[in-house]
Symmetry: C2
Subunit: 359 residues, 2 copies
């Protein structure tokens, strides 16, 4: 029931992709655990420098011989006027005072080189590479495909999906509005449209011929079966694994997640400059009152980094970015392997009881 | 497969409720057609005066002997300062000039009496009565239940669902963020949370013991099967029927809907004072630039009524309220009965091909 052309192509047992959550949660251990449990583990590598990326990939390979994925952000030119940066710096300095960090650390926003990251992925011949925030250069897609990598793009509207297909993506993640973390939107206005998974998946399925992976709000066997019914070949689940044992999310992040409700997330540009869904915090609320402009991604992301790190060190969730999707009442602190096992057995039982009885 | 305790209780063949779309779309003909086709037709009666409500119910009964539903809005106290009203009046007057209607028509915001509407429903002994915008008074729920009416509430968060269950609702519509028209939210901050159907339904199902009806983004057999997988006993579909033959939606509204995409809707307070999802229009965009406060529902709704009506008369969709959900690429201009038939046959075929094969 859960085997299809896509799972066969990826050589995975179950149509479950663990979402690549950049910034810490997707440790080598988590990625390998998911792959060993029959899903596809994914490393959120957007913020990893090339050497760290290479080391983590090798670490994953010591823990599993099974396929896994790596996700990168497609870079874009970002420049902000000195005025906007100066104004944001002075807004952020109050957090630095409060957290006891020295003011105005150097902004290291261009530290990750996309080209170098891609070279590592080519050197290491990664089975699956997915992209967020747009369409990578043609040569990059071709080089990856030439060595047998399955290339996956992320779409939040039908038009984005069509453009990704045209560019050569082998499969498309349809990211519904429920999804935690950054919106993958890259076309004008797409980030504002926030189309829910139930509406997005079938509309994309109808308009592209490549396989579609459902994401956003999928937390268990019910979400898996629902997504397959909508026409997806697989699901991508992030929040479901975020509080799992081997997730690298900070303990206070996990704790906040496990006690939060479905109505406590918001989509905000406060932390990174790009819209992302996370649990409401003081930092977000105060940024809503901020009169100036928020610098573009990745500048804002680099400008808030020291604050997020210091907040994590002092166990203060209110200044941390607590990315989470809207299904968070269903998050689990169990091991990822147990979450996959439970998802599959729930899906089987559900199909048996709901859909295999006589009419 | 599609029969369950809930369909048996309502005495309907298929677990499909046509959403009560107030303000015109749900004609007696549409309601009766849906019921005759095996679903549950619903009259969106919120804006109907008692006599009109009674007449429409009798009209429905001449067209079908099968059960149907009626939906009302739970009223709330609304008062706005004369300043806010005056400022909005002057913003709206430019549309009146453009549309050739005389300025400052009397505001008729208290024209519908909830108590009288309820009395009609009691007199007429309606099989199913649903409520939007909150919890009706205890006596109202009790009086309806005493005469055998199934009472349905609308929830946009788990907490709203719990409160509706506690108040005695027999079933709950879980309204996901994809849904067109007014958000049913009634608790503080709930309207802002915009939880998608994929995330909302299972979380509500886990927290209440009454049956849950999925709504928001459900347009066809795929959405029906997905909703049942999420734990819903039935679906409520609105946009799916909005452009159907007997829908009373204005021809230009239907035409706009059928050519619109999934990313062209927004949630706005511009027309009624309460958040509702509809296709982006000039009226909405211009209201976003409006510096003052938008009067509360139903005052704003009454204040914009003459403009919406005059715009409809002059076939100008830009000043009309074009409520629609995010699934709108899948909307159909076929008869409602054909839409139901197609939904059911698609759902059967889907279950057969996806979920009845051997593992």
């Amino acid at each position: 029931m859960f085997e299809n052309d896509f799972t066969r192509r990826l050589n995975i047992q179950f149509p479950i992709i663990q979402a690549p959550m950049a910034g810490g949660p997707t440790t080598a251990e988590l990625v390998a655990e998911v792959s060993n449990a029959g899903g596809l583990g994914s490393l959120g590598a957007a913020y990893l420098k090339p050497e760290k990326l290479r080391n983590t990939i090798q670490e994953i390979r010591q823990l599993t011989e099974l396929p896994f994925g790596v996700n990168l952000f497609v870079p874009e030119e970002a420049a902000e006027s000195p005025d906007i940066i100066e104004q944001m710096t002075s807004h952020l300095n109050k957090y630095r005072v409060e957290l006891g960090i020295k003011e105005n650390p150097p902004i290291d926003s261009a530290s990750e080189s996309f080209d170098e990251q891609i070279q590592v992925l080519l050197d290491e011949s990664i089975p699956v590479v997915s992209f967020t925030f747009g369409i990578p250069p043609k040569e990059v897609i071709q080089a990856l495909k030439d060595q047998g990598t399955t290339v996956i793009g992320t779409a939040t509207t039908v038009e984005e999906a069509k453009q990704l297909e045209l560019a050569g993506a082998d499969a498309i993640v349809a990211q519904g509005s429920e999804a935690g973390g950054h919106r993958g939107s890259f076309l004008k206005n797409a980030a504002d449209s926030l189309v829910g998974t139930m509406a997005l998946v079938p509309q994309i399925v109808d308009q592209v011929s490549v396989p579609v992976i459902a994401s956003g709000g999928i937390m268990d066997g019910r979400g898996l079966v629902a997504s397959l019914a909508l026409g997806a070949v697989a699901v991508q689940m992030g929040t479901a694994f975020l509080a799992s044992v081997k997730s690298g999310a900070h303990p206070i992040y996990k704790k906040t997640l496990l006690s939060a409700n479905e109505d406590t997330t918001v989509v905000t540009r406060a932390y990174s400059g790009k819209p992302a869904r996370g649990i409401q915090t003081t930092f977000i609320k105060e940024m809503e009152q901020y009169a100036g402009a928020i610098p573009a991604f990745p500048i804002q992301n680099a400008m808030t980094r020291d604050i997020r790190q210091a907040a994590a060190q002092s166990n203060n969730p209110e200044y941390m970015s607590l990315w989470a999707g809207q299904g968070l009442r269903l998050a689990s602190e169990h091991p990822a392997a147990a979450i996959i096992k439970q998802t599959i057995s729930q899906a089987h039982a559900l199909v048996e009881s709901r859909f295999r009885t006589k009419d």
